[in-house]
């Protein structure tokens, strides 16, 4: 089982910038992103999220998002995708950073999820 990360943000710049932080500690982890609407405005896009799932090299994807409406598009994309996607209601940056560090260190999904639990702040 290989683990990757997908980042979903309302803002294209955040979606582009966050992987730079993660790559510093997780050079070997596949990280894909979906930022902004189809027009590049502030918002999210189910199509971009599906694309981010497809582009991810891992067979199990850990997905993180910023605001609630991103979660709705994420869940729609999950229902339409063949990839196995795990969605977390954690702080976006901090949760993704934690997951990236742990995936790079070879930690398994159960242990990663235990470490993500205290970072859960949405529902």
């Amino acid at each position: 089982m290989s683990l990757g990360i997908t980042i979903v943000s309302h803002v294209p710049e955040i979606a582009e910038g966050l992987p730079k932080l993660l790559k510093q500690v997780a050079g070997d982890v596949s990280i894909t992103t979906a930022g902004g609407t189809n027009d590049g405005d502030i918002g999210t896009s189910m199509e971009k999220i599906m694309q981010a799932f497809d582009d991810n090299e891992a067979d199990n994807i850990l997905a993180f998002y910023d605001l609630g409406s991103a979660k709705m598009n994420l869940e729609m994309a999950m229902e339409m995708s063949n990839k196995k996607v795990h969605l977390y209601d954690t702080a976006l940056i901090e949760g993704a950073y934690t997951a990236a560090s742990l995936i790079q260190a070879g930690v398994g999904l159960d242990e990663i999820e235990a470490q993500l639990k205290p970072l859960t702040i949405k529902d």
Binding site: D41, S45, M46, L67, G68, M72, N73, M76, D123
Partner: protein
């Protein structure tokens, strides 16, 4: 009371008209308790729906599905996946029934599954959950629609952007409830649908 490709199309065009006329008002409602874009989001979405329906769908299910996909691709905000899921669920349901009440009941369940909101959370769920039973009972009226929309004014938001404001979300009508009100008004006005 027959749901057909033609009545569906009239319903949607009427809804699109209402959104177009009220898009500034809907965005204004979204300003104090959100990000001020709900009218523009819905207008972009319903223009895409109108455009899509200029090609007549092969059947009711295809019609609902096309509407859903147009909304999902173009709306951008939370209302995109919410209305999108509503119409996707209507597409599924319409394969087994043309009873509008049943179809709308499936839509409401879809909105609740997608957004996790309950009645009282100051979202479009408040309008849908109030009015779907009225459609089923054949008692939908303009007055009931207005009251359902207005009822969100004094609620404290528990879901969506307005929920960040806590108590401060009180005193404002929920924009998604207002646009949902237009959907039910359009339904009421559509010749031969109810």
């Amino acid at each position: 009371m027959t749901l057909t490709v033609d009545t569906l199309t009239s319903w949607m065009n009427n809804f699109a008209d209402k959104i177009e006329v009220n898009k500034q008002y809907l965005s204004d409602l979204d300003t104090p308790i959100g990000d001020g874009d709900h009218g523009f989001n819905m207008s972009r979405g319903m223009e895409a729906v109108r455009e899509k329906l200029t090609t007549k769908p092969v059947d009711l299910q295809a019609g609902f599905k096309n509407i859903a996909m147009a909304l999902i691709s173009t709306v951008g905000g939370a209302s995109g996946p919410l209305y999108g899921t509503a119409f996707l669920e209507m597409a599924k349901k319409s394969s087994s029934t043309d009873d509008l009440g049943e179809v709308l009941k499936a839509a409401l369940a879809g909105i609740q599954k997608r957004g996790g909101a309950k009645p009282g959370d100051k979202t479009m769920v408040d309008v849908w959950s109030e009015l779907v039973p009225e459609v089923k009972a054949g008692t939908l009226s303009k007055d009931k629609i207005e009251r359902a929309v207005e009822s969100t004014k004094d609620m404290v938001a528990k879901k969506g952007r307005a929920s960040y404001l806590g108590e401060r979300s009180k005193g404002h009508v929920d924009p998604g409830s207002e646009s949902s009100g237009y959907l039910f008004e359009a339904l009421l006005e559509t010749e031969g649908l109810l």
